[in-house]
């Protein structure tokens, strides 16, 4: 009556649930998607390593000059007060990630993520020194000898040199890279610059040389939440299971199941997957795409290229592993235009348009007024009352500005002192300003607005106004 069911407690065995991950030796593969990825790697790394060396108007084209608190990007100068633009840009970057994920899955992971890009670069170095997949596996298994030591040492040297160069370039985005290069050449590097070069270099080395796919699998938050942007019309890399199964070795010349003409007869037992493991060997995260969509898949499409090459060899049609959508696999049409992509695209376009507009129309003058803290008011000549202020003006442009200072609206107050202000390009000026109220004209607190106008008749900009308070003794003492 009571049958015993053999149960095993899986919890106790060491590493049952999280098997120790074997080291991944991705095999090199050529193909159309790998060409695309290489192009992306070259383009992105090229931007990173070359941009700091390019000049624009005699100044580094991209320089986040932290010591002087100014960012120079393509001839535009940004001040800390423009931080808002950066936050805006980050929101746009996040949203475009959503958009491209909804459209074509993990494009970011496969083609553009710094983790992928630098891992590819480090893998390339490894391949050049240690050889292809089989040679690398053999080398790792071999006992330590002079040859292994030389190979491994050379690789480490090349990696460290590349990582340090990366760190140097990184710091070169924050301090002028030509000066930095001079300091390096003369062994005259500042302590903190040295520290950041080493720190960033170490991070690059650790992430791209050592951790690699583990970053994607265990540390990347995007890998965890990207599924939320997916729907049944999102491009994914998928194995065509009905076509591929049952997998197995077969004689050369066996026709593809797709050529199986006699629809009434029985389908051949073997599908088109010849179980050659090529898709597994090329995978940089060491997964088997034939097990279905997995979180470990960074959508690099290496398995597509590998499988296509095998299909070509077998004279089978390509696409046993391919970019497809869940709807397409079910034989339904896939739609690129759908509510999700349209919403993402619309919001993105609006944000980008508003961003471009506000960059073009941002005020180059920053004005702020501070009341004199020492006295609320003081007596002026002929029974008048005076208040003093400090006007802080920041000329964010590189050109000098001439401004006229005036009082806005109908007010009995008068400006005392100079009303024509010259501010050099990039200058932060503190201008003392005194306002005077003729005897008996003002009582108590009164709002007052100072207006700054350009003297250039052609320019409507820059105009700024700042509002502050004027204090005078109240009526009855």
């Amino acid at each position: 009556m009571n049958e015993r069911i053999p149960l095993q407690l899986v919890d106790g065995d060491e590493g049952t649930l999280y098997a120790r991950q074997p080291k991944v030796y991705p095999r090199e593969i050529k193909g159309r998607f790998q060409r695309l990825r290489n192009a992306a790697v070259l383009w992105l790394l090229g931007m990173f390593y070359v941009f700091p060396w390019l000049n624009w108007d005699g100044r580094q084209m991209v320089l986040f000059d932290l010591p002087h608190r100014k960012f120079y990007i393509l001839g535009l100068t940004f001040w800390p007060q423009d931080f808002f633009f950066m936050a805006w840009l980050l929101i746009m970057a996040g949203l475009s990630l959503f958009f491209f994920t909804a459209l074509a899955g993990r494009l970011w992971c496969g083609y553009a993520c710094p983790q992928t890009v630098w891992t590819e670069a480090f893998l390339w170095i490894e391949r050049k020194i240690e050889g292809d997949r089989n040679q690398r596996m053999r080398l790792d298994k071999a006992p330590w000898g002079a040859k292994k030591f030389a190979r491994k040492g050379l690789k480490q040297l090349a990696w460290i040199a590349f990582a340090l160069w990366t760190g140097f370039t990184f710091v070169g985005f924050f301090t002028p890279i030509r000066e930095l290069a001079g300091e390096v050449a003369h062994f005259d590097l500042g302590g903190w610059e040295m520290f950041w070069i080493a720190f960033y270099g170490f991070a690059t080395y650790g992430n791209a040389g050592f951790l690699r796919e583990q970053v994607c699998k265990y540390m990347c938050p995007y890998a965890r939440f990207q599924g939320a942007m997916f729907d049944r019309d999102t491009l994914i890399i998928s194995y065509d299971e009905p076509r591929g199964e049952d997998r197995g070795h077969r004689k050369r010349g066996t026709p593809s199941v797709l050529d199986w003409a006699d629809k009434d007869g029985e389908r051949p037992a073997l599908g088109d997957c010849i179980d050659c493991q090529a898709c597994v060997q090329v995978c940089p995260t060491g997964i088997d795409i034939r097990n279905g969509l997995q979180v470990g898949c960074i959508a690099c499409a290496a398995c597509i290229d590998a499988c296509d090459a095998i299909m070509d060899k077998m004279a089978y049609p390509r696409g046993l592993i391919r970019y497809t959508t869940e709807h397409a696999m079910e034989g339904k049409p896939s739609r690129v235009l759908r509510v999700r992509t349209l919403i993402y695209a619309t919001v993105l376009l609006l944000l980008a348009g508003a961003f471009a507009w506000s960059i073009g129309h941002r005020s180059m003058l920053l004005a702020e007024v501070l009341r004199d803290r020492n006295a609320l008011w003081r007596a002026g000549p002929a029974g008048s009352v005076e208040n003093s202020y400090t006007l802080k003006l920041v000329n964010k442009s590189d050109q000098p500005m001439t401004l006229t200072l005036s009082l806005d609206g109908d007010t009995p107050l008068v400006l005392v002192g100079r009303q024509r202000l010259d501010i050099a390009g990039g200058e932060v000026a503190s201008v003392p300003v005194t306002l005077r109220a003729p005897a008996g004209s003002v009582h108590g607190r009164q709002r007052v607005t100072l207006q700054l106008n350009s003297t250039d008749p052609n320019a409507s900009q820059p105009v700024a106004d700042v509002t502050t308070a004027f204090f005078a003794p109240s009526d009855s003492p």
Binding site: D11, G15, H68, P80, F83, W192, F195, L211, Q214, K217
Partner: protein, 97 residues
């Protein structure tokens, strides 16, 4: 009836994953905090109102600020990971519970 506990404890994750789960999010948060903080506050002026006798340049200010933030976020991440560790005397919730 035996209900096998299938939810793995975090200690089963590879070392890199465990270190990364603490170090990486805290690093990221510290980076964002540093950016926002120093967009508003000039380290030069911060230095004059804190320890004016020490000669702290802007570069050093940014660096110190970043690591101060990182120490805080790292401590917090570490604390969280400690509290999330399964305890012997508390039954672990799984889907069946």
């Amino acid at each position: 009836m035996i209900a096998p506990r299938v939810s793995a404890s975090t200690s089963r994750l590879p070392l890199a994953a465990r270190v990364g789960a603490v170090a990486w999010p805290s690093f990221f948060a510290a980076g964002v905090a540093t950016m926002v903080f120093f967009a508003v506050v000039d380290p030069d002026r911060l230095a004059t109102i804190t320890w004016p006798t020490l000669n702290v340049s802007r570069g050093v200010g940014y660096t110190l600020g970043f690591f101060m933030f990182w120490v805080c976020t790292l401590a917090s991440s570490l604390f969280t990971s400690l509290l999330l560790k399964p305890r012997g005397d508390v039954p672990v919730d799984d889907e069946n519970a």
